[in-house]
Every structure is written in C-alpha cells, then in structure tokens.
Symmetry: C2
Subunit: 491 residues, 2 copies
C-alpha cells in the first residue's frame, strides 16, 4: 500500500483524509457515517482526554455514567432542544431479531416492537435532568458538578472522519447551581480549561467568545466557545460551554429548597469537547509529509531508529543507547524504539514522519564510533549531530521548543489570515477568494447575520471576549456596530 | 430520606439494591432496564478500570474504538454467535423524528427508515473482524492486540443494577495471532490478569477454570473464566477470556501471508470484564451497615471527620491535622475531609459506613489536648486512639491489613460454603437448602449437565484448572468422572 499523501495545497480535503487514514488515526466503519478510531489515533485522544479529565477533577467535578437510551418523549420537553436534535436521531424501535421465514439471514421480530421508541442520545441534557429531579432537593445538594465521557449519535448525511460522523466520543459536563451567578462563573471557568488544554497541550491557538443567538446551543441562554483556524483557513468550533439558565430545570421541574426555605428552580450549565479535536490537530499542524504532533500530546515524543537492518546491527545501537533511553524514560519522556527488522530504515523514517513523532533519534555505527547521535526535528526538518552525553538535556530542550514553535506557527498563520474589512464588497471578496477570518462590526440584528450567511456562507463564529465595537459600523447595514465579531466559513 | 438498609440475612436481593442505591453507587434510568452509574459508583469503576488498563498496556495491548452500530447482516456471519445474541438486540430502524401530525409530541418519521437496520453492539467481534480483514495482510501485522472500553447493549427483561442491565460498560479485548499456540497463551495470560486484579485489588477470591461447551461463549473454541462466590453463596462469573480459534477469521475471511508465503486464517481471542464487578464488590464484602470497600479500590481510603458542628470547631481540627494529612497525601493515601456543617457528626459516621470507606479518623477537642487521634476500621468496627505522631505509619499499616483481611474473610466464607457430595441426593440437598459451591465428578456428557440444571437450577460454573478427577465418579450418572467441576446456582 502506498503511503503517499495528496499535497495539502492541491486538495485540502483529500490531504486530510489521506493523513487520517494513512497515519492510521481512523478508518470508516461498516455502517455509513461511522468511524473506527485506530490505536494510534485513540492514544492521541487518550492523551487529550487525560489532560481535560485531570483539570475537571481539580476543579471539583466528578465523572458518572448516564444511559445511552432516552425515551422519545423526553426530547420534546425543552422546546428549543427538540428542534435542534429531532431531525438527526437514531431511533430504536425493536429489541429482537429472528431467523428470516424465507430462510435467508435475520429479520426484525415484529413482536418485539417497543411501546415507546427510544432515542440513542445525541446529547444527555434530558436524561440527566430527569435524574437531577430525583437527586436535588435542597441547597445542600448543590452545586452538582458531573461530567461523563461517552459516545453520542447524530445521524449525519455528509460525514468526515473526526469532524462529522454519525457517532463520536466526547465529554459532556452537566452542572446544577443555586444562583445564576454561579452558573455563569462555571460556564466561563470551563471555557478557560478548554482554552488552556487546546492552546497549551494541543498547541492550537483559539479565540474565546460568545455565540450569537442564531449559533448558540438548542436550549441555552448563552453559549461560549473556542474557535480555531484550520490549515485551509476555515474555522473549527473546538469546544462549547453553555449557560442554560433555568430552561432545563423548568422543563424537568427541578427545584430546590433555598437556605431561607424558599423553592427555586435550579440554574444549569452544560459543556463539551469531542474527538473532533483530533481532527483539529491534523488540520492545524499537518504538512505534506503527514502529521506533526505537539510533544505534549504525542503518544511517542521520540522515536529511536537504529540504522541497519540486521538484528545484530540494531542490537548494537540499542546497547549503545540503553542508559540514555532509561535516563530519558525516568524523566517521563515517551520514547518508542523501532527495532523492526522486516522494514527498511527509509520506510521507518517515512512512517514516523507520516505519524508526526516530534523528534527522531538516528544512530548508526559511525555515530557509535564518535560517541554521538543524530537528532531530526519533525516540525522544521532540521537534522543535527550531538555528543551522546548531551542527549538528555537536548531532548528535553528541543521537545519544549517544538511545542512552542508549533503554537507560534499556528498563531502566525491565523494572524496572517485574519482581516478587517471596511466595506461589504471587501468582506465578500475576502471570504470568497482569500478565506480566513474577518473581524468586523455587526449591528446585532439576526436578519443581518442571516443575510450575510445566505450570501457568503460565512457565519459569525463568535463575539470575542476582547471585542472593541466602539466606533465600528456594521459591515452589512452600515448602522453603528453593536458588536465586533469574527466571520468565517466553518466546518 | 431514610438511609436504613434491609438486613442482609433477611432479604439478600433487597439488601443489595438498598446498598447500591443508598450508597449512591447507581440508580435506575428512565428507560426500563437502564442504569445510571452515580459519581461514587463510577469512581469505583474508574479505579478498577485503571488497574486493568495499566496491566493490559504493560502486556503490549493498545486501546481503540469501534462503532456502536453494526449492520444487521454481520450478526449472522458466525453461526453460533447469532444464536447467542439475536434474541436480545436493540434494533435501530429509523434516523429521524418529526412533529406528530396530531400536534402531540414527536413521532418517528416514516421516510427516515433505514435500508438495512443496524444493531446496537451486544459485543463487537463482528464489526472488529470486518475491520481486521482490511488491516491484516501479513505475519508482519500480527499479533494485533486491541482492547476497547465501551458500552454494550443486551436487551434484558429481568434486570438488576450492575449485575444485569440492558446497557452496561465493559472492556472487550480482541486479538489476532499467527498460531493457535499464541492465541491459547493470550487467552490464559489475560485470565491471569483478571485473577490478579479481582483478587489483589478487589479482594475477591476467584476460581480459575474452563467453561463446559454448554456454558462457553457463542463462537468460542474454549472459554476460560474466573468465578467468585457472592454473599448469598451464589456464583458470579466475573470475567471471561475466549480462545476463538479460526471461527471469526473464517466467518469474515481474514487470512494472512505466513513467513514462508502461505495463506492462513488468523487465530483469535476475545475477553471481557464489566461493571458487574462493582456488583461483586458489594455482594462479597458488604454487611448490614452497607459497603465495605477494599482500600486498593476505594475512592476515599480514609475519611477525616472533625467532631463538632461549627465551622470554628471543624477549622481547629483541620489545623491540628493539616501536616499529617499532607504527609499522608504525599504517600498517595486517598483522604477525604468531611467538613460539612449542614449535617451532624452521627450522620457523617453513618454515611461513610454506608459508603464503605475503609478507615475513619475522628478528632475532637479532647484528642487535640492529648495530641492524639481516634481511628475506626470499617471492616471490623474496631475503634482505638493513637498518638498523632504515629498516624502516618498506622494508616499505611492498617490499610494494608484491611485489604488482606477482606480477602481472607471472603475466602473463608467461600471455603466454608464449598462442599463435596457423594450422592446426587446429597448434591440436591446442598443446592436446595444450604447453597454454595459443590465440587464433584462429572462424566463429561452435556446431557448429564442439562439434566442437573433442569432438576436443580445449578450449572457447572467451571472445570477448575486444578481439578483432580482421578478416582471420582459422576455425581449424576455414577460413571467414571471425566472432570472434577464446580456446580452452583449463579447470577
């Protein structure tokens, strides 16, 4: 099988799918729109997950597990919510198969029809709030800070690995609070955790902001988000955190007794990030050779490739490096030794470049004679020899440097492709021909937003927290701007 | 809400459900047969999961994720497999809801009917072997050692929290090998990991053995298992590991090129443990006060309860213990401080006994004056005062002691309730009136096994690895025994 990857500049979508499948991150499953996350891709997701999970726990959240199946009727309890999800639900109607009477395979047993159909969760607000009604009676039961790591299903017609699949993995946090202030603080706190992991661990720069009413979550009062620019200059919504106000508490009748003995509806948040973040990693950092992984999230931070084909040659190199490797592992550097004898050295170089390992250590017999090693950086392609004695310090230094350098590159790219526009013609020209983010004034009118979307396919990605609307006019209507916003085409 | 638990001796099933719900391990979900795993129960599952996951990784296994949805036709590929699972499948037939034309709620949109129905995975052999067909070409691709932690669905009519629910969480390992010997070795290696975690971490003694053909997994050549005795003397199958031979490779046409260029079918294993292990923990160690958790798996190994109600009293105790708690945390002892001012000290004692925290530290003003602390063991109820200076050493010692003591108690209980029987009348009498395990000879005939099951409801739990059939006769037929086996009623 050829490991060649379509050049990124030639066809970004094809390049993306090539990288994802050839680096063995994921594959299509047998049911249309489903995805298999392969071990290499899953270990990246595990690393990302662990970073979030640790921070959630440090801020007082606990994990739980709510059922996959939701009664159909629950979905219609919250008026906005049902509009958002009813059209893309997997519906379970029967609970048994039987031999086909014609002798050919299996058919659904008509006698196993369910009284009420059940929905495979597209998100879990409804089932969780049905349980919160049982668990919350008093202010002593609050706040309730629960998260779950689960699979969810949204029946999608057009799918793309990691970015949009019928089933995906995510975490969904669902919290209950006694006051609106606490719920707001929670939604913002989580957004900051999202920013921290995505920027500092995944090296993907994001813009933090608030969604417009048209773009917010079905059932939320406010939706906050982090938005990132992909390698094709389109935006990817990378995480959202919702202040749900009392909407779900009212829909599921969840009240609590306050300290002064009054009954009040609970205030809520929900928030999530998903396996689409793995897609973001690929699209932000990847190049024509494949993936480039930030060390903080790379399953292997360093790959050691002994030059030579025989077990004997390889054994000599590994003996030579033995104590260096142990020392690095003690410092918790994640090192993989590629001691395969069934493939060539060239194949190994190519394979680990495709898979984006940040740093390669090559050692051959001449390096052993000169007591040295060769390092090759995946981010810059730079290759240099150093004394073996300096290996440990150099590896630690260069891994930090790669982490920072990937973030800087991504940020420069975003800045170079973020525009301001003075006129709507200029705006359309940028969206159509250049791509990227346009930062401009908006009059706050949903009709303006809809008109721009209809004409250009660009949507308001967010109202950035650091907006400066003063003195701006709306790019479309020319009226005084209510907000400074970011427009872009998005995934 | 009353926290009282039905006495164990009075009604074991009710006692079990009381403990599970009142200790807040789990609750019933809104769809019949589904379960919500609450934060406290989930943190126990997380601790168990982490222990298995680490051992799987140390033995070369990697995690991945395969889709929830399986094409209906896949289920019928392997002849035995379909019999095992078709009768309890959740079937997705549609992918959209719409407003009810009568204006009342939601109905299934008939236009969204799927061309081929999809099954919610009851286990993943079929979807995984469909992928392995794509991934395996050569001996270089073997062994393939993949595990996944996922939810599975088996539509159950009679459910019990953790033990039998429509949806449950588990890990399923699926491996592919070049030789039958390697597959057999893998199946045995995993069973040993299962034994190690269940005995050494969960303090639940198990018997390792092989299932009879009647009891083995649908599609396996051999099924190995660990079987444990619960507090009501019934058996619980606590983990299984299957040598699948070439059955699935043939069903999904998965061949590989051997080193000497021949084509051969791949050899396979699969293996799993599930959230039912949390049920085993409850049923093996619990008492009339509730849970008793082994320290190795307890979310909180120690709970600190300051005696006093005011914030000031509590604050004084926490100041007094501050450096001791830090020192214990540095030793990775998991300590929870119950500083609630909204409930009484008595309530706290009761609450943490119900939740099974192995060790309680109580401190009041008199303890501060005498520079001491009071320790209370959950396993024995023993309560004693020691000098604060000795706290760290004593906590470490006593936690180890509790871990060992719980295992010893469970093992003694099993031994006291394991019988040999000379005659079938004696056998029936034990199964009917005493309960427990009966170790006896079996002639190896499936008809004997079926007859005994029909007459007594006892099944062969396993043929223990350490069986000694020599000289035994079959308990039913009187013929020479082919195997020494364990009979019991089981969950």
């Amino acid at each position: 099988m050829s490991k060649g990857v379509t050049p990124k500049s030639q066809d970004f979508a094809k390049w993306y799918t090539d990288v994802v499948t050839k680096a063995e991150l994921a594959d299509y499953g047998p049911v249309k729109g489903t995805m298999v996350i392969r071990p290499y891709g899953f270990s990246i997701w595990e690393a990302i997950k662990e970073q979030f999970d640790r921070r959630f726990k440090e801020t007082g959240h606990v994990n739980a597990y709510f059922p996959l199946f939701i009664p159909k009727s629950f979905l219609s309890r919250e008026a906005e919510h049902v509009k958002g999800f009813a059209k893309e639900c997997a519906v379970v109607t029967h609970h048994r198969l039987m031999a086909n009477p014609d002798g050919n395979g299996l058919v659904v047993d008509p006698d196993s029809k369910l009284e009420e159909e059940v929905i495979v969760r597209p998100t879990s607000e409804t089932v969780i709030w049905a349980m919160y009604k049982k668990w919350i009676q008093s202010y002593r039961d609050l706040p309730l800070l629960i998260n779950q790591w689960v699979n969810v299903v949204r029946w999608e017609m057009r799918t793309r690995l990691f970015l949009r699949t019928t089933e995906f993995l995510w975490q969904e946090g669902h919290t209950a609070h006694a006051t609106p202030g606490e719920a707001e603080e929670e939604a913002r706190k989580i957004l900051e955790i999202y920013r921290e992991v995505v920027e500092e661990v995944m090296a993907v720069p994001v813009i933090m902001g608030k969604k417009t009413n048209a773009e917010k979550f079905a059932g939320a009062v406010h939706t906050y988000c982090i938005e990132a620019m992909m390698g094709d200059k389109r935006a990817l919504q990378s995480g959202t955190s919702h202040n749900l106000g009392q909407n779900f508490a009212k829909a599921f009748d969840v009240t609590f007794q306050t300290e002064d003995n009054k009954l009040e509806y609970v205030y809520a948040t929900s928030w999530g990030v998903s396996t689409r973040l793995v897609g973001a990693l690929v699209m932000v950092h990847g190049d024509n050779k494949g993936l480039r992984l930030p060390p903080n999230v790379a399953p292997h931070q360093v790959v050691v490739i002994p030059i030579g084909k025989s077990s004997e040659d390889i054994g000599k190199v590994l003996d030579y490096l033995d104590s260096s490797i142990s020392a690095l592992r003690e410092k918790e550097v994640r090192i993989h030794i590629d001691d395969r004898t069934t493939v060539s050295t060239g194949f190994k170089f190519h394979d680990w470049e495709l898979k984006g390992v940040p740093l390669r250590i090559e050692v051959g017999s001449r390096d052993i004679q000169s007591n040295s090693v060769v390092l090759a950086r995946r981010d810059t392609g730079e290759k240099y020899q150093i004394s073996k004695d300096k290996l440990q310090g150099e590896v630690e230094r260069v891994l930090k440097d790669i982490q920072n350098s990937l973030f800087r590159q991504a940020k420069s790219f975003r800045e170079a492709n973020t525009y301001t526009a003075e006129t709507y013609d200029e705006f359309k020209e940028i969206i159509k021909n250049k791509g990227g983010f346009v930062k401009c004034g908006w009059d706050g009118d949903p009709e303006t937003e809809a008109a721009i979307k209809g004409e250009t396919k660009a949507t308001i990605r967010c109202i950035p927290f650091d907006e400066e609307p003063g003195g701006l006019t709306c790019i479309y209507s020319g009226k005084p701007a209510k907000h400074e916003v970011i427009f872009a085409k998005a995934y």
